[in-house]
């Protein structure tokens, strides 16, 4: 059944380019493997956002398999053979770290709906590189701030051993300020028994972990199975407790504190319109922040396409994207000096609904209008 739905949604996505005259947008994203649903969220969110913006567009979607080499090959084909000048879609920082320089060298624009590794936010910032989501560190600084606000002073921080994992732990430590034990896990690891033993041994006041996609599901389940859920509180950044993870994990997530830049209960017009559009298009798939970021990316790109006209003028398009004149689903949105967002962050609680399943409730704003620490190093 699920397979059927996936196929059906793929057909829908393929059928979308009814606007045959529209600007071609290259979407390189992760559609296979345990994190494949992240790419599906991004693809579907982009489509809905662009449709809502009223721009004429055509999406060219390709899978990167979470592999930087594949990503570069796909980008190369899109840029040099198909002449696409606007790319987006990458989920993972290791892929974007390889693909983005390739796109910028070719004179194209890259707008990130998710990954934002630190090297590209600081000295290597570029006029044609935009990030709509967040900078990797700031995503986890919010969790550090939340853990500090809750009064904890010792923590164990776990993340996979790749760029975003290192950014995650650095970001958490920066705002937390307490004593942190760092544990790096394997990028493909799915059995965390050894890590559970180490957490138990350290007995910290709080655990912070960053494991997006299928890894996050495995981690939360094993955390509960190891009997740690009730004893050591956990603070998570939004990628580690997205709606799909919560659906798969079930009650094992109740009681966890989260931090986010957007939540489904936000009370603004753009967010309500998005939630309704998503529910109509994908009734069986929960909307995650990946979908929301991609929707915002679609709104931004769409607003720029409408403004600059779809005749392939890259400079005009760049200026229109930089202006960021769109109504974001997160309420307030602006680009900082390195063209990464300046936005608010919220603390959320994962509570049980009537059926005992987890639901995310927004609690309070913990950081207001913050950018990222790398912006200062960016000279454009």
């Amino acid at each position: 059944m699920q397979r059927l739905l996936t196929t059906a949604s793929l057909l829908v996505a393929l059928a979308v380019p009814a606007y045959a005259e529209g600007t071609r947008i290259g979407v390189i994203t992760t559609l296979s493997g345990p994190a494949g649903y992240l790419g599906e969220q991004i693809r579907d969110g982009l489509t809905l956002g662009l449709e809502a913006s009223g721009a004429a567009f055509e999406l060219v979607v390709e899978d990167d398999g979470r592999d930087p080499n594949t990503g570069v090959q796909v980008a190369d084909r899109m840029l040099n053979e198909e002449g696409i000048k606007l790319l987006t879609g990458i989920v993972f920082s290791n892929v974007s770290g390889a693909v983005v320089p390739e796109a910028l060298d070719a004179g194209a624009i890259y707008v990130s709906p998710n990954a934002a590794p630190s090297p590209l936010a600081g000295e290597k910032c570029h006029p044609n590189y935009f990030v709509v989501s967040w900078q990797n560190d700031s995503l986890h600084e919010a969790s550090g701030a939340a853990a500090k606000k809750l009064g904890y002073t010792t923590a164990v921080a776990l993340a996979p051993n790749y760029q975003a994992g290192k950014d995650a732990i650095e970001g958490f430590k920066r705002e937390f300020g307490g004593e942190v034990t760092e544990i790096y896990t394997g990028v493909e690891q799915s059995d965390f028994a050894g890590e559970m033993a180490q957490i138990r041994d350290k007995a910290p006041q709080v655990v912070f972990q960053f494991h997006p996609g299928g890894q996050g599901i495995a981690f939360l389940k094993q955390y509960q199975q190891a009997g740690l859920l009730g004893t050591v509180p956990m603070v998570l950044s939004e990628p580690s407790y997205d709606a799909v993870i919560l659906k798969a994990v079930g009650p094992a997530a109740v009681g966890v504190t989260g931090t986010t830049h957007w939540n489904a209960d936000f009370d603004n017009e753009a967010s309500k319109a998005m939630v309704a559009a998503w529910a109509a298009a994908h009734p069986d798939v929960p909307l995650t922040t990946y979908g929301q970021q991609a929707y915002d990316t679609g709104l931004l790109i769409g607003s720029a396409l409408v403004k600059a006209g779809g005749d392939g003028d890259v400079a005009a398009l760049q200026a229109a994207i930089k202006a960021a004149e769109f109504a974001s689903t997160r309420g307030s949105f602006a680009f900082g000096p390195n063209q990464h967002p300046v936005q608010d962050w919220y603390m959320t609680a994962i509570e049980a609904d009537e059926a005992g399943n987890p639901k995310v409730v927004t609690k309070e704003k913990i950081r207001e209008a913050v950018g990222d620490v790398y912006a200062a190093n960016c000279k454009m």
């Binding site: 699920q2 397979r3 996936t6 559609l31 296979s32 493997g33 345990p34 494949g36 649903y37 051993n161 290192k166 732990i169 760092e182 544990i183 790096y184 394997g186 799915s190 059995d191 028994a193 050894g194 559970m196 033993a197 180490q198 138990r200 041994d201 299928g214 890894q215 599901i217 495995a218 389940k221 094993q222 509960q224 199975q225 190891a226 009997g227 798969a248 079930g250």
Partner: protein, 304 residues
Amino acid sequence: MILLFEQLLNGLQYGVTLFLLAAGLTLIFGIMGVINLAHGALYMVGAFAASWVAIQTGSFWGGLVAGLVASGLIGLVVETAVIRRLYARDHLDQVLATFALILIFNQTTVLIFGRQPLFTTLPEIFSGSVEIIPGLPYPTYRLFVIAVGLAVALGLYFLINKTRIGMLVRAGATNRQMVRALGVNIQGLYTAVFALGALLAGLAGVMASPIVSVQVGMGDEIILATFVVVVIGGVGSVKGAFVAGIVLGLFDTMLRAFLPATLQQVMPGPEAQALGVGISSMGIYLMMALVLLVRPRGLFAARG
């Protein structure tokens, strides 16, 4: 101390999983002389069948039965359709044919289940943890996995040492030609052994499915370690597979658990982790090289 004990249990659990896989592989290799690279595919079949049935029916036990039946049956089919034609061929042909089987199994699984991993929930009695010593609640399910692995080891011991079929298996591992010359139905024995091996691989997959994410290619990751177990234990020896499986599981887990932390005391976090993980993933191969230096036929070689 508690940490060490918990990591020992984790190592034991990994060890029995390796044993379940290696027991079948070593019998197939030792008795039939076939190198079966597709053994990991049967592990995947067991995991997928169990997870799918568990998701559809909501019953873990139904999934367990389904996983065993599916892997055993597919083992039978594979033996009759492919492996039977490979006994007389040399090892290169066997490697090529069984490698093709891996690709066929992986792509068929993608066609049926897609690339999304399957996730199952545990039955109520296994979802929590037991406090085995004060201060150490250990997941009930992982204890169950260890218990099942040890029970299978005991069962195989009796099967191989106390029954007629076990006697034939031992004889076959020692001298295949002689068994055939004595008029034993060697084809029936081969089929039974292959199906038993497939069943054990499927059981390992079923046991692993609620812990790890069930996805295409999951068997390819673990099959390398399984071959190391078979080689260290001695080809054809179930006892060797047991000892080597447990030792390797413990060794590997201990390296992964303690090496990065030890290195972290002398160098920065991510680098220590990378080096620690690097060395610990080499660990079992280093151990295999050392064992082969001292005992070229493995610890408990069956053939003289």
